[in-house]
Amino acid sequence: MTSTLPDFAFEAAPELPGSERVSRYGFSAVRRIVHRLWDLSIEGIENIPDEGPAILCPNHLSFCDSVFVPVSLPRRVWAIGKGEYMDDWKTKHLFPAFGMIPVDRSGGEAAQAALDTAARVLDGGHLFMIYPEGTRSRSGNLHKARTGAARLSVRCSAPIIPVGHIGTLEVQPPDQFTMKPGLPVTVRFGEPMHIADFGDPGDPRTIRPFADAVMYEIAQLSGQKYVDTYAGSEDKDEEQPKIETPVIAVPPGRARAPKLIAAAG
């Protein structure tokens, strides 16, 4: 049942949260426990650079994705989390150990603040994880990417590593607080993707094709069907900030034919 624990280097990053001793030991203990309790297979670990920045972009199905991806890596990874976690004694030590950087996500500047924080991590030469779908997919499908990851890639000249995992939904279905032990989970890391291979990084028309190409690779890794709509449109998700976007009326006579959708891969 236990899986092989990958070699791990605890990257020193005193400027970022989670560097204190309690986090160091806490994360180490959690890694061991996770690898003992679940049948975790890790593929493509050679795609994670030993050093330097990279943006990890996993599919997002379950709250526990934020556990399984970090413990599969040979290096530490940081991600944005809700500021409120720091007010709760249960999470205030554990979450920073997992690389969570609390950001106040209320208010209009929240998205910019999150991106600035992410840029700080990447500019420091570290790994940063962001769910490109922006929120958990309740449909099980892989949804259209938000542009944040691709824009970070341009801003910080960092490659994107597509990540596809399988099995986390069974470990912790929606609305379950506990994680069911003993189940198989697979985490697959794809090859690093560079935006310059998709066009001129200075041309904004390169962003969407790059973001789509990342989703295509994730779909190959996770085996999910891709749908060209944003996740969260079918359900609300408490974990992630609700993305409020203004909407205008569609012309009344416009044909609303559904787009052609077929299984990826």
Partner: protein, 477 residues
């Protein structure tokens, strides 16, 4: 108001139009337009009657248009050469009360029996009359011009532009260029007046300012250079194929007086922009607009950046939206939706087509996909109807075509989507040139995500391209 009055305030001695060796002053143009008003009034043509004007870029077209507008009629500019079935379809859809035929369209007189409306040969209309009716007052919302749209995406429609729409478009053309059009300007009119760019941005905007318009019946590169040299052209406007021709040749000092270079009608390739800058020292200002928007929506106004069509001009609200009307994420691609004083009044006799693109609160859905950069510049990606959906993923044909065109053996490339059992659609490439398709496939795979690579290539001699440079993909589907 009436846009027919734009020529009335200028000094009668100033030159308005130059056509070969002939010149026409503002005074002569005013008189000729007055004569047309007299003729139309005698025939009972007035408010909202439809007057078709098939003609080339000739002085009679200008007089006929101003004259018909002056009696309150709606003008439908038509290109002079139309295959008969196409002409029949167009006339059936606009049902003109009268047709004023220019020299370039004189062949139509031989087919008079098949045409319902009375036709007047403009060559027979006197250039001045002793007394002519006054220009009638019109309201801002009254329809002034009905444009047959180029119809790259399907059947031609007739866009109704109001007095206010056109006046705003002319003002935008004057005010949103580097220094604005001025009375000292000499503009080369090679773009057809049956196209909104040639009509409102070049012809009418220049006349509004009291400048000179040098007429070129149809674009021919050597003649265009000779006209530039002879008349000291200061305003040079073209569609991308024209700019490509100019960029490739030695122009001597033909462009010595050019102070304003404008491209529109289709996306200008970045290499053409760069070539013009490096080779001829000309920075092309690019704009974006449609017939339905009179046409100016964006302009690069003095800070042109290759690949971008500039920022929205004052008065235009421009947003990018998803299919359901949700505004896209920053940096993301979406359909360009606009609001402003130039937005048309709907398609003539076609409320269904109007309802597909126009909302009650005045937003016009352009059908073009665009992106905004952090500085608010607009970049055009593709036509929304041309997007190919492979396994749920959007493939923009322009992106694939640009990769194919990068291959040294490819002369032209168009890609379209074909239905596919497993993936919904699949990408099919049509290429011209001396190309080895296996080699081209390797080139595509090295430069594109797998789902974007054409699964089949067809070698063709010629690809369907409209005169404006727009690719007509529907002909290959």
């Amino acid at each position: 108001m009436n846009i027919a009055s734009i020529v009335e305030t200028h000094d009668a001695e100033r030159i308005a139009l130059i056509d070969g060796d002939d010149t026409l002053t503002y005074g002569e143009l005013q008189a000729w337009a007055g004569s047309i008003r007299q003729l139309l009034t005698e025939r009972g043509i007035g408010d909202d009657d439809r007057v078709a004007v098939p003609a080339g870029n000739e002085p009679a077209f200008v007089a006929a248009t101003l004259g018909a507008l002056g009696v309150g009629a709606r003008v439908i500019p038509m290109k002079p050469a139309n295959p008969l079935p196409e002409l029949d379809r167009k006339l059936a859809s606009i049902r003109p009360a009268i047709i004023l035929v220019g020299e370039e369209a004189s062949w139509m007189h031989d087919h008079a029996e098949g045409i319902d409306a009375p036709m007047i040969d403009l060559a027979t209309v006197p250039r001045s009359v002793a007394a002519s009716p006054e220009i009638v007052e019109r309201e801002n919302d009254d329809i002034a011009i009905m444009m047959l749209t180029s119809g790259v995406s399907g059947n031609a429609k007739v866009a109704m532009l109001s007095q206010g729409n056109l006046a705003w478009g002319q003002a935008a053309a004057c005010e949103n260029s580097v220094d604005g059009l001025a009375s000292e300007d000499v503009a080369l009119a090679s773009l057809p007046f049956s196209h909104i760019f040639g009509l409102n941005v070049i012809l009418l905007a220049t006349l509004r300012m009291g400048g000179q318009v040098v007429l070129q019946r149809r674009f021919e590169v050597d003649e265009s250079l000779a006209l530039c040299t002879r008349h000291g052209i200061t305003v040079l406007a073209g569609a991308p194929p024209m700019w490509r021709r100019w960029s490739m040749i030695d122009v001597g000092d033909a462009f010595a007086c050019v102070r304003l270079a404008i491209s529109g009608a289709a996306a200008l390739p970045v290499e053409v922009f760069n070539d013009m800058q490096q080779r001829h020292g000309i920075t092309i200002e690019e704009g974006y607009g449609l017939t339905e928007t009179s046409p100016i929506l964006t302009s690069s106004r003095g800070d042109a950046k290759g690949g971008s069509v500039g920022r929205p001009v004052d008065g235009v609200d421009l947003i990018l939206v998803e299919e359901d009307g949700t505004i896209v994420d920053p940096g993301d691609a979406g359909e360009i939706v606009v609001r402003g004083p130039g937005i048309f009044q709907g398609y003539f006799d076609d409320p269904e087509a109007t309802q597909e693109v126009l909302t009650e609160d005045g937003w016009f859905w352009t059908g073009d996909v665009g992106v905004l950069d952090d500085d608010g510049r607009v970049y055009i990606v593709d036509r929304i109807k041309d997007i190919i959906i492979v396994s749920g993923f959007n493939v923009y044909p322009a992106e694939v075509e640009n990769v194919l065109l990068d291959h040294p053996d490819v002369r032209g490339a168009v890609v379209v989507g074909n239905p596919h059992l497993d993936t919904g659609e699949t990408v099919i490439g049509y290429v011209s040139g001396d190309v080895d398709t296996a080699e081209l496939d390797r080139h595509a795979r090295a430069n594109l995500s797998r789902y974007k690579c054409p699964t089949k290539y067809h070698l063709v001699d010629d690809l369907p391209v409209a005169p404006t440079g727009k690719k007509i993909r529907r002909e290959l589907r």
